[in-house]
């Protein structure tokens, strides 16, 4: 799986690069208008943006003090290298059983309406303390959390900076800081975004045909709409699972088996799929819509019949879904400590892997810069770092895929391939 490239941005998102290639025809351009990536991140008045709050939230998000036994942080399940989720069908609960549902990505939450698969939290602030107190997830009391954080000297200054008018460690300030950090996690610019912005060459012909199928015959767009590809609503799409989803929350049987329409940004990198992680591949998802729908009265009326789709339509549809993953050039992982501005979004050093070698054995970069490693080899690789300041594992990196490594702190790092141990790269960060 390719780790996701994610940009952290301040209030303004990086503008798309000036469009290259031939402009789009007007008809296409007007359809595409619905899919334009926004240029600013919305922050609520009740919890406005500040850099100090984002930084505090980031620290909390990665702090295991939020769990009762000190073993888990939010990032244990919402891991940056896995697209702010965990890449498994269901995460292990603290009691050794499996959680009931798959971990969704924590990115692009700034635009969310209701949170969790069943929409039971109304805001990111409300959501943040849920996992902390869940016996199966982090099993910490709010009092215990406050006491543990108070015992760590570094936090008092950070809370003072983030909440100057009320510099106290409380469940409320913790939740606000985490929510602000989560809003800063924005998915990177994708080939599809560049196509929408007018670069006709940004995506392949198959992907364009796939977009036609997606918005036309297959009717996917009736639920997966807008730049995030979600209507933020709840639908039963006929998965065999027993989970009642939204129906159980609002006690409306018609909404049994209904789950929130997930975003499709970065979808190719976020297998396995669905609320229960029950489908392994995108082909499998499309096949579900074509032939796997369990018939029952609660099925969403928006669900089209697509059994007439040809194999080619399906291949194109999948090609289109792949165009929703971010570009190497914008791939600064959101671990980057300082929020990159529009200009340093491309502040990335790129090297390649070929013939079981890195194109460089030793590189120098500055803190805050990212290193992008593109696989130009005929075989898969697995990028890893195991250093004091950075532990990173890219998972399986197929030929053609890239990995972006965030280097936020000065020091010497040893990057290696888990599959080909002779592939080594030293990174000196100043």
């Amino acid at each position: 799986m390719r780790p996701l490239a994610v940009l952290i941005l301040l209030t303004a998102l990086a503008p798309l690069p000036a469009s290259a290639g031939k402009p789009l025809d007007r008809a296409t351009a007007s359809v595409l208008a619905d899919f334009v990536r926004p240029t600013t991140v919305p922050y609520p008045d009740s919890n406005p943006y500040s850099k100090a709050k984002v930084e505090l939230g980031r620290k909390l998000f990665f702090d295991t003090a939020l769990s009762g036994d000190g073993t888990r942080s939010c990032a244990t399940c919402h891991a940056p290298v896995s697209g702010w989720q965990d890449g498994v069908a269901r995460h292990q609960a603290l009691d050794g059983t499996m959680l009931g549902r798959r971990t969704p990505s924590a990115q692009d939450g700034a635009w969310g309406e209701l949170f969790f698969w069943d929409g039971r939290a109304a805001s990111l602030e409300e959501q943040a303390l849920g996992p902390v107190q869940s016996v199966l997830e982090m099993n910490q009391t709010l009092d215990g959390m406050v006491r543990t954080l108070e015992a760590k000297p570094e936090y008092s200054g950070l809370f003072a900076g983030a909440f100057p008018e009320n510099p106290k460690i409380t469940p409320d300030t913790v939740a606000k800081a985490i929510a602000t950090f989560e809003r800063s996690l924005v998915s990177g610019i994708t080939p599809f975004d560049r196509w929408v912005a007018g670069d006709d060459k940004a995506i392949s012909r198959e992907a364009k045909r796939g977009f036609d199928v997606f918005t036309g015959q297959a009717g996917c767009v009736s639920c997966h709409s807008g730049w995030q590809f979600t209507d933020h609503a709840f639908h039963d799409i006929g998965l065999p699972s027993d989970d009642l989803g939204r129906g159980a929350i609002i006690k409306v049987p018609e909404l049994n088996h209904a789950f929130k329409t997930p975003t499709l940004r970065n979808v190719a990198d976020r297998a396995p799929y669905m609320h229960d992680g029950s489908i392994d591949t995108l082909e499998g998802v499309v096949e579900h819509y074509r032939s796997g729908i369990v018939q029952r009265p609660t099925l969403s009326p928006d669900l089209p019949r697509i059994d007439a789709l040809s194999d080619r339509d399906i291949k194109d549809l999948v090609a289109f879904l792949h165009s929703l993953s971010p570009d190497p050039a914008t791939a600064a992982d959101s671990l980057t400590a300082s929020a990159p501005s529009a200009t340093d979004a491309s502040d990335t050093l790129t090297i390649v892997q070929k013939n079981k070698q890195f194109s460089e054995r030793h590189v120098h970069i500055s803190a805050g810069q990212a290193l992008t490693i593109e696989n130009h080899d005929t075989r898969a690789h697995n990028i890893q770092v195991f250093s004091e300041n950075l532990e990173f594992n890219s998972g399986y990196q197929e030929p053609g895929e890239h990995v972006s490594l965030p280097f936020t702190q000065a020091g010497t790092y040893h990057v290696f391939c888990g599959i080909h141990p002779k592939m080594k790269l030293q990174v000196d960060v100043k």
């Binding site: 890449g87 079981k356 898969a380 195991f386 004091e388 998972g395 040893h414 290696f416 599959i419």
Partner: protein, 292 residues
């Protein structure tokens, strides 16, 4: 998690058992071995038997400067007969699957990945010559299926099940060597030593300066040490008959060696330096010399 570790370990032990135990102690096979100076012990190089010095690395992706995987570490397996090198490579596949499954069951699926890829990408090729010669049915597709499942991150239970399938294949592959040869310390101890030298090599590779920087190499060395230990355990009755004192020493030293890896995921600061491990392995080689 402890449960699944035990499960896989028992599975591994049982398969080693199936292939090694219950067979009469045969007379000495004249398989040859040599210990090389690199590990601090210099012994006479015996004439090679069957004309094959265990150039396990040739033909594979290995060799100096190449893949650098354990299969390429022909040095560590130098002096083994073709059959002994074959057995050593099979043991190393077991070692990979052991740590791979432990990591996978702990939810560390990305960390587990290399351990499911190495057997098929590096070690399987090393088995080919003997497999062809002895008409062992190919099982690459079983390994591929396993690594594919790990790539797709299927539930741990399924990975364990497919691992059991592969372990069965490995047992079949081992069974082409006569049981009385397999259980003969003169044949099997050099295999243990070859695997342990690989342990030293991999463990050394795990370091940058004084700290562990490559968890994969660390885990390789752990998996191989565990398998070497299992082989010693299974031979213990035979070894004890031969020289109870030496057998006891060997087991103690193996146990000491195993404390090098307190957990499957390393801390940056190691329990033992690479040279300490190398010295321990040398002492184990000495202990085995009395038992062959």
């Amino acid at each position: 998690m402890a449960g699944s570790k035990v499960k896989i370990w028992v599975g591994l032990g049982a398969y080693v058992l199936a292939s090694g135990a219950g067979t009469a102690l045969a007379q000495t096979s004249d398989a040859d071995y040599s210990l090389h100076g690199k590990h601090g012990v210099q012994m006479a190089q015996a004439a090679t038997h069957g004309g094959h010095g265990g150039e396990g690395g040739e033909g594979g992706e290995g060799g100096e400067g190449g893949e650098g995987g354990e299969a390429g570490e022909s040095q560590a397996l130098a002096g083994l007969s073709k059959e002994q090198a074959y057995l050593a490579n099979i043991s190393m596949i077991r070692g990979h699957l052991n740590v791979g499954n432990e990591l996978y069951a702990a939810g560390k699926t990305n960390d587990a990945l290399p351990h499911f890829l190495h057997p098929v990408e590096e070690l399987y090729g090393e088995l080919k010559e003997v497999m062809d010669e002895k008409k062992v049915p190919a099982f690459k597709s079983d390994l591929d299926k396993l690594s594919g499942m790990v790539k797709r991150k299927v539930p741990a239970q399924q990975v364990q099940e497919q691992t059991e399938v592969v372990l069965t294949r490995l047992t079949e592959a081992t069974s082409v060597i006569p049981a009385n040869t397999l259980s003969d310390p003169a044949f099997a101890l050099p295999v243990v030593v070859g695997v342990l030298r690989t342990v030293t090599d991999e463990y050394t590779e795990a370091f940058e300066g004084d700290t562990i920087a490559n968890p994969v190499e660390y885990q390789d060395s752990l998996g191989f040490a565990r398998v070497a230990n299992a082989m010693v355990e299974l031979m213990t009755p035979a070894l004890t008959t031969k020289d109870a004192d030496a057998a006891n020493q060997l087991r103690e030293q193996m146990n000491t060696l195993l404390t090098t890896w307190p957990a499957v995921t390393p801390a940056k600061k190691a329990v033992r330096s690479a040279s300490e491990v190398s010295a321990l392995v040398s002492r184990i080689e000495f202990a085995t010399a009395r038992l062959r």
